[in-house]
Every structure is written in structure tokens, then in C-alpha cells.
């Protein structure tokens, strides 16, 4: 398919350096269980879990170790077999400090194995219960509990499931490798979700820089025996950041724009990340909770880049040790992708269910310039996928008038960073946007 005819979103967007060449061809490698894991009690949107196990309790891999009784929640399972050391504070890439359940692993335990059952025997309710019991959350980064997303309020009419395989963040290849190596599970997971939602149509949106993933999925779909019940198609998309943002993806795939302030289900669509879809398959068919995931370890600052299958709670430091250490010119460590990920100040940070990558960037790969006044070039306005005016927001914030920026649509901003990427004055526009959001919230409260 030629680049001209590829679907994409209609406004804004950028083409950052892809940086995927370091890991896109590397098969997923299983990292042995570390000696200790730290499980954040809140790895999801909703109420934090509470530990269900006492200090010194013996737990086995996959065992439920933390939960909360009511509300939006996602259960937590032991990612190793071992002994509970208790709840301690651990550094968190986004919130600073957070409570984590610490388990020290018994050496020489074999990884638990699971065997699939025929999931078609389960009813909708049973499917949802199995997903809920496995603690599946949105693995693209949002961490929204999957069972809640798939529990559709009565009266909502859906027609399309979109699987998000765009992986538009530079450097990340975990979803890519997942689609290549676990295409069958992704398609089965899609069928499970379709059954829950009671619809037939599923489109898998994938940026065109992953031809092997597109080919593999197409092959699996064409060989699938249930073509009559489900209509699953692969939609190759133009390589354009932020193609994997839900709004941009929905518009690229269906042409429908989600109005601000309503859920995607209001326009008939549910979006799930491909990895979440695979986790849903694991939960339903294998009864396997979500406690390990593929994490892309990349950048020129790590000795050996890899797509690693790691236990949730593994420390970044343990990953570095496993991969032979960092290079001397390492300058920045980012949890997530280079566009929206979080820079961390230490390697002593555990990975969570939503960590898609850890990047080790060298001085040459990062920007360390100080910023200058806005010269009104308008680059930020032309690349904003939401049609906002980051230039004006930044000037208002600098003048101490962040609360007056609602007129520029600050609420629509999802911090994709396209504006800050193109800014020739190197202004930290994402930070200005965040400050503006905060100022508006504070002004509304008072």
C-alpha cells in the first residue's frame, strides 16, 4: 500500500526520529525472575489496592496479593514465588514516592506454566469476571482497568472495536514484537472482546513501519476459522506521531471525531491496546493474571538493547545488570517513550504493568538547551493534533495568567509533546500546558 493512501489523522502531527532499529528485529527474551520485586499498590486508574498478605507470608507466582473491595480497581498478583517482605515506599516515575508490596523471590523456582481452555464456553459475565480477576489494565500507559472499560452501560450502541497497534512513540518496540510473536493470542483476544461487546467488527490499527506485524496478523486472520462470526481487519496507518493517541487513531480508522468531554463509546467505538488484548486472552483462556510484560530496553546508553519479558516489579537496576550495564555516556533514563515518558533520576525504580519501555539516552540523543522567548513562528500551532495554541498558553503562563488559558482549549491537550518537539526556541511547552491545566483547576476550586 502506498504512503499516499494510508489512513491517518487530519491535522497536525510530527515525524520524529523513529529509533526503533535498535530493537525491532530482536525476538523477545525472557529475563529470569529477579531476587526481589516491588509491586506498586496502584498501577491503574482508580482506588489503590491493599495488601492481602502479611509480612513473611509465602506466596506463589500468580497468587492474588493485593486488592480493594469497591470501585474502579485492578487486582495485583505476585510476579514471583517467594516471601513477602511487607509494604514499603518505592520511587515511582510519575508520582515520586508510592507504596509497593515487596516480595523476595525464592531462588530456583520454575516459572509457572498455564494451559489454554476453550474460552468460547464462557458467558459474557464469566469472561468479564475472568478479566477482572486477572488484574488486566490498559497497558499502553493509561492503566484503566480493562473489565471496567468493557462493562458497557445499557443503551450505549457500539459498532467498532479498534485495537491500538500504532506504537507511534519512537524507540518502543514491545507492541511490535508482541504482534509478531503473539499474533494468534491478539486475534483470539479481539474475538473475546467482540463477544463481550456483542459486536462483530474489529480494526487493528498499525503504523506502516511494522510490515512484519501487519503481515503476520493478516495471515492469522485469514487462517482463522471464525470468519463468519467476526470481521477482523488490519488497518495499516501512516507513520505519523501521535497516531496511537485514541482520538487520532479513532479518526484515522473510522473518520469519526470524539467530541471533547464524552467517552469514545458515545461515537460507537471501544479502543484497546494490542497488548491489553493479549493480556485479556491470557486472563480468559489461560487463567493467567497480568504480572509480567514485554518491556523495550533501548537507547545508546545501554550496553545491550532488548525486548525483555520481565516480571512486574523488577527494578530497572536489575534489568541494567542483566543486560551488561550502561555505557559511560548515559545521560538520561526515561520510563516510557521519548515523547511522553518520564525521566527518572535513579535506576532504583520498579517497572509496572504500564511500563512499555525503559530508554537509556546519551548526551547526543537528548536536548539540554535552555529555552528562549517565543518568536511566534507558529510551528507548535501547525503540529498540534488537537488544534490548540501552545504558543499563547506558554506566554500566558509565563505572565502568571495560566488560569485565563481555557479559551485556547487547554483541556483537550493530552501532552503528546508535538509542540515542544518542533519549538525552535526549545520552550518546554508540555510543562506550560500542565501548569495551565493546574491553574485552571485551582481557579475553578476557589
Amino acid at each position: 500500500m502506498s504512503a499516499e493512501t494510508l489512513a491517518t489523522f487530519p491535522m497536525g502531527g510530527i515525524h520524529p526520529r523513529e529509533g526503533k532499529e535498535l530493537t525491532e528485529k530482536l525476538a523477545v527474551e525472557v529475563m529470569p525472575a529477579p531476587s526481589e520485586v516491588r509491586l506498586f499498590l496502584k498501577q491503574h486508574v482508580g482506588a489503590p489496592c491493599q495488601a492481602l498478605v502479611k509480612k513473611k507470608a509465602k506466596v506463589t507466582e500468580g497468587e492474588l496479593v493485593a486488592s480493594v473491595e469497591r470501585g474502579l480497581r485492578a487486582d495485583l498478583h505476585a510476579s514471583v514465588t517467594g516471601t513477602v517482605k511487607g509494604v514499603q515506599n518505592a520511587l515511582h516515575p510519575m508520582v515520586g514516592n508510592a507504596s509497593a508490596l515487596v516480595i523476595s523471590a525464592d531462588p530456583d523456582t520454575q516459572p509457572r506454566s498455564y494451559s489454554p481452555v476453550d474460552w468460547t464456553q464462557f458467558s459474557k459475565e464469566e469472561l468479564l469476571a475472568r478479566i477482572k480477576a486477572a488484574g488486566v489494565v490498559g497497558m499502553g500507559g493509561a492503566g484503566f482497568p480493562a473489565w471496567a472499560k468493557l462493562t458497557i452501560r445499557p443503551g450505549v450502541k457500539l459498532d467498532t472495536l479498534i485495537l491500538n497497534g500504532a506504537e507511534c512513540e519512537p524507540c518502543l518496540t514491545s507492541d511490535h514484537r508482541l504482534m509478531v510473536e503473539h499474533a494468534k493470542e491478539v486475534v483470539e483476544g479481539a474475538k473475546i472482546i467482540l463477544k463481550i461487546l456483542g459486536i462483530r467488527y474489529c480494526a487493528i490499527g498499525i503504523e506502516n513501519n511494522k510490515p512484519d506485524a501487519i503481515e503476520t496478523l493478516n495471515k492469522v486472520i485469514s487462517e482463522d476459522g471464525s470468519k463468519n462470526s467476526y470481521n477482523i481487519v488490519v488497518k495499516p496507518l501512516k507513520v505519523q506521531y501521535p497516531q496511537g493517541s485514541a482520538d487520532q487513531l479513532m479518526q484515522a480508522v473510522t473518520g469519526r471525531a470524539r467530541p471533547a468531554g464524552v467517552r469514545s463509546s458515545a461515537i460507537g467505538i471501544i479502543v484497546q491496546n494490542v497488548y491489553t488484548t493479549k493480556a485479556i486472552y491470557d486472563a480468559v483462556a489461560l487463567g493467567k493474571p497480568l504480572y509480567e510484560r514485554i518491556v523495550t530496553i533501548s537507547g545508546r546508553g545501554i550496553k545491550r538493547p532488548a525486548n525483555l519479558m520481565v516480571r512486574v516489579g523488577t527494578s530497572v537496576g536489575d534489568i541494567v545488570d542483566y543486560l551488561g550495564g550502561t555505557t559511560p555516556d548515559l545521560a538520561k533514563v526515561v520510563m516510557g517513550g521519548p515523547m511522553m515518558g518520564f525521566a527518572v533520576s535513579t535506576l532504583d525504580i520498579p517497572v509496572s504493568k504500564t511500563t512499555s519501555g525503559v530508554l537509556f539516552l546519551t548526551r547526543e540523543e537528548i536536548d539540554t538547551q535552555s529555552h528562549d522567548p517565543c518568536i511566534r513562528c507558529g510551528f507548535c500551532v501547525s503540529v498540534c493534533p488537537m488544534g490548540l495554541e501552545p504558543n499563547n498558553v506558554s506566554i500566558y503562563v509565563e505572565a502568571g495568567r495560566g488560569a485565563d488559558t481555557e479559551q485556547f482549549g487547554v483541556d483537550d491537550c493530552f501532552l503528546c509533546g508535538s509542540c515542544a518537539y518542533v519549538c525552535p526556541a526549545k520552550r518546554p511547552l508540555v510543562q506550560f500546558m500542565s501548569i495551565a491545566k493546574q491553574n485552571i483547576r485551582e481557579a475553578k476550586k476557589s
Partner: protein, 358 residues
Amino acid sequence: MSAPLAEATTVEGAGEVMAPKLFVSVSPHFKSTVTVSEIMWTVVACLLPPLILSVFIFGFQTLIIALVSVLSCVGTEYLSNRALKRPTDTIKDGSAVITGLLLAYVIPPGVPYWLPILGGVVAIFITKALMGGIGFNVFNPALIGRAFLVATYPVAMTSAWLLPIRDASVFKYMGAGVDAVSTATPLYVLKHYGIAAVIERFGALSVIYKDFFVGWRPGCIGETSAFLLVLGGVFLIYKRYITWHIPVSVIVSVAFFTWVFGGERFFAGNPLLAVLSGGVILGAFFMATDYVTCPIQKSGQLVFGVGIGALTVLIRLKGGYPEGVCYAILLMNAVTPAIDGWFRPKRFAPQSEEGAKK
């Protein structure tokens, strides 16, 4: 300016190996390599060919005038920032150099060498530094510099024109009295004596088009070579530093309004002559496109460009000056904040009722 990056301090524990010092900053962690100074110095590079050619058209003194102008602007930038207690390293970003070049480009080639010093001080200190420095000026600094000089030294600014040199003797006008060599610009001749006089003085229309396109005509130092200016402008468009909207709308509207109103009857004006004379091409590609003083939205830029074209033709035909590009751009600079208010980007899907096509 404030540094967005802080070098994280890692504490060395007893007996532990010291962890690497890591940078932390807000996302995104990848940024494009384009910087303000890269854009500005590229513009400077695109402006140099017309200056080099001007040496062969009007003589070596154009280079001296340009140098004086640039030094005046850069020096004023440095001194103003010192006086206003701002960082002085902005002289390295190239923007004052552009102002200096553009100021020289809109000055006649026979003016005294000290004249651009005054223009440079007004351009940088009053128009830019007092407004808040780079990014905060309302008007194009170089054009305010020119407008100031036209008001204060009207004789030099409106009569120090030189006939193009045809024999490569680039030192011909050095030290020569301006009165001895001065001539009239095509626009002056056209305004006061009509198209027949232009043909009589500058040759048949086909010769005029060719000469004017290359640059061999009386005029300001850097405005005469349509060819080299378009070449530089197209390079800036190719680099995506500017878009076609402003240059094209300015040039097309000057041509259109001249065609309609510029002749002895309606629809009898000469659009090509209008575009190739005066500062239309220089203004369209290098002055109206100044980021700081032009609208941001493409639709707003089209309105801005057509406004410049219409005002240029109005001043040329009805005003006291034969040329109107400078004042047209300055007037539209004043309208830019309003245009930016009228033309806002189209939001993705702001209202909850609209947007859902289904």
C-alpha cells in the same frame, strides 16, 4: 533564560558504586534539531546573494552600507540588552544581523555611510528592545528604521538613486557626489510621467522585464534582483521555515490590483512591471514573513498578504510616495494581533454535540 533541565544529584552511599548522574526534564525527550539561530542564520545566508550582486549593480559602497547597518544593529542589540539588564548573547541568534541586512536593503545605494547607523539604532532599540526584545516587537524593526530615515532624511532616502553600472567598474560611485550620478527609480518615472516614459528611459518592455528580473535597475540596495530574492525565498519555503501563503498573496494581490487600477482605464495596468519594481519581492519573501510580526494561521496570513498588496498599490497610485511596500507591511503589522484573534486554529472536536458524524 531559565534552564528546563536539572542535573539530578545522586547520593553516594557508603561502599556503594556511585550511580550515574542523570538529567531529568519534562517530556518530550526527543526534540527537533531546528533552533531559532539556525533559522535566522539560514535567512541571512538566503539574503547574501542579492547583496553580492548589488556590488556589481551599484558599486562597492553597497557592501560598506550593509556592513555599517549590520554593525549598528548588532551593536545596538548588545548595548540595549546590557542597559535593560537582559542576556546579551542574543546577538548570536542572527536576528539583529537580519534586521541590519534588511535595513540596508531598503536604503538607496547613494546615501552617506553614516545614515544606516541611525536607522539601526531606531530599528533595534526603539522597535525591538524597548518592546521586550526578540518575539515581542509589534512592527518589523528594519521597516521602522527605514520609515524613520525617510521622515528624517527625506532627500537622501528619496533621491540617492544610482544608475546600474554596466562596465563592472565597481568603485565608480565611491566618493562621488550623489548629485552627480543620481537618477530616478522606475516607480518614480511611472508615477509622474507614465509608462511611455519608463519605456523611453529603461528600454522596451521585454528588455525591462529581463533587466529587472536579474536586478539591473535603479532601486534600493537589496531589492532589485527578483531572481535572487525568489531563489532565497523558495529555499526558505523548501526548508519549511516559511510557507507560500504570505509571499504568494502579496505578489498576486499587487499584480491583481495594479492590473485593475494601475492603467489609464480599468484592467489596463501592467502587473509584471509592478511586481518587478520597488520592494515587492523583497518585502513579500523576507519582510512580511517575519514570524514575530505576521499572523500565525495560514488563513490569517492570506488576509495579511492581500492587505499588504492592496495597501501597496493604493499608496503607489494615490499616495505621495512612488513606493508603498514599507508602509503597507507596517500597517498590516499593526493589524496582525487582530487577525490572529479572528483566525484561530480549527479545534479537533470541541463541542459535545458536534463532531460525532454518526
